[in-house]
Symmetry: C2
Subunit: 223 residues, 2 copies
């Protein structure tokens, strides 16, 4: 990167942090837990959200913001589960920024308890942008391989939770779950780790419980 | 993006194009076909290169440049196949640039026929950067899902060839190969499409033949 590019980038990141902190403050006060989901394209973020919608509703109210380069496909899938969803299409940019989330805040229904943000499918750029989330979760699908944490360290080091997805495929793959988990934990010992299969239902209830407990904890802290 | 960011980005892309054209000119004259491989993390770029090395050697000489955010892992895997390989670690940047390739040109052995460049695992940023390649190939692994072409249109629209990978997993997946192929072809009708399984060996010989024929064609054009 040129010096000029570095300076512009630092200005953008500084202003992003400020907007993110404002979003977090507003939504925490309103009792909304914000979860930012990061992963490669095709790791199963939307399918995981469909399963979480089924696990959390009707007891809990959720809303979803979908980030993609192009198309409304993911928001349409979430809406079919009866969950309010907004699609942000970045038209080329490889990550969401806090100001894009900020613009949608007036539309989040009162009573929403969980706001899930599905970032653009990318393990690199989104890791640098705080969106005002309380929890950042990185997904790693079994077919992507067990060597990914150290190759994309920032995504794993900056996350609160690691969600292995598509675990039903492990019997057909050269994938060592323990190795991948240990490598991620060596980058970030505070990671909570979940092993899920949205297709077969594995691990979804545990993950839903983690989000509910995290929200309870956030509300107690603010009481 | 801010106006300032757009201007800086245009300057960088302009200078990148110039360097890329110089690299292409030099390597074409030396009889080296350059292939730029783009995909998500974990789509199987390195495993495909290991299989291609076995299919092309010893009849043909190849060399590999590996791009990653961090770690020398991929270059080590290629070297174990007896192929000269260089690792570029970008330290955070989400794509390779032509000048990074340019710096390595003096190290490419005389007699090299194919230079494969494995870009950073990312379906977004690398699509904007010409590295001096003759062929750009985008990989889509079956587990990533059949809805990816329209969600990441630039990668598919700018490629010469589309390589489906991990096709051995299709029986275990909700993946419609024909749908994904047609969607990619609707973005880019000139795509050559290959269906491969590096693990089971499917499609590798056809792909190797495509590279050999493309190099023959390049050399005839320069003769």
């Amino acid at each position: 990167m040129s010096n000029k590019e570095v300076i512009v980038r630092e200005e953008i990141l500084g202003s992003n942090k400020k907007v993110a902190a404002e979003i977090r403050g507003k939504l925490e006060a309103a009792g909304v837990l914000v979860v930012n989901l990061l992963s490669s394209p095709g790791s199963g973020k939307t399918t995981l959200l469909e399963s979480l919608a089924e696990a959390l509703r009707p007891a809990h109210q959720l809303a979803v913001i979908e980030g993609d380069i192009e198309t409304e496909r993911d928001a349409d899938r979430i809406r079919r589960k009866g969950v309010p969803a907004w699609q942000i299409t970045t038209g080329g940019a490889c990550h969401l920024e806090a100001k894009m989330i900020g613009r949608l805040l007036p539309e989040i229904p009162a009573g929403t308890e969980f706001l899930f943000i599905e970032n653009v499918g990318n393990l690199v750029c989104p890791a640098g942008y705080d969106l005002g989330e309380n929890l950042r979760c990185v997904l790693l699908s079994a077919p992507e391989g067990d060597d990914k944490p150290k190759k994309y360290p920032k995504a794993f080091a900056s996350a609160d939770c690691l969600i292995f997805t598509k675990s039903d495929l492990i019997p057909h793959l050269p994938f060592d779950l323990e190795k991948a988990g240990n490598e991620a934990l060596s980058l970030n010992p505070r990671l909570r780790v979940f092993v899920t299969s949205a297709l077969k239902g594995g691990g979804i209830a545990e993950l839903a419980r983690y989000f509910v407990e995290s929200r309870d904890h956030m509300i107690q802290r603010h009481a």
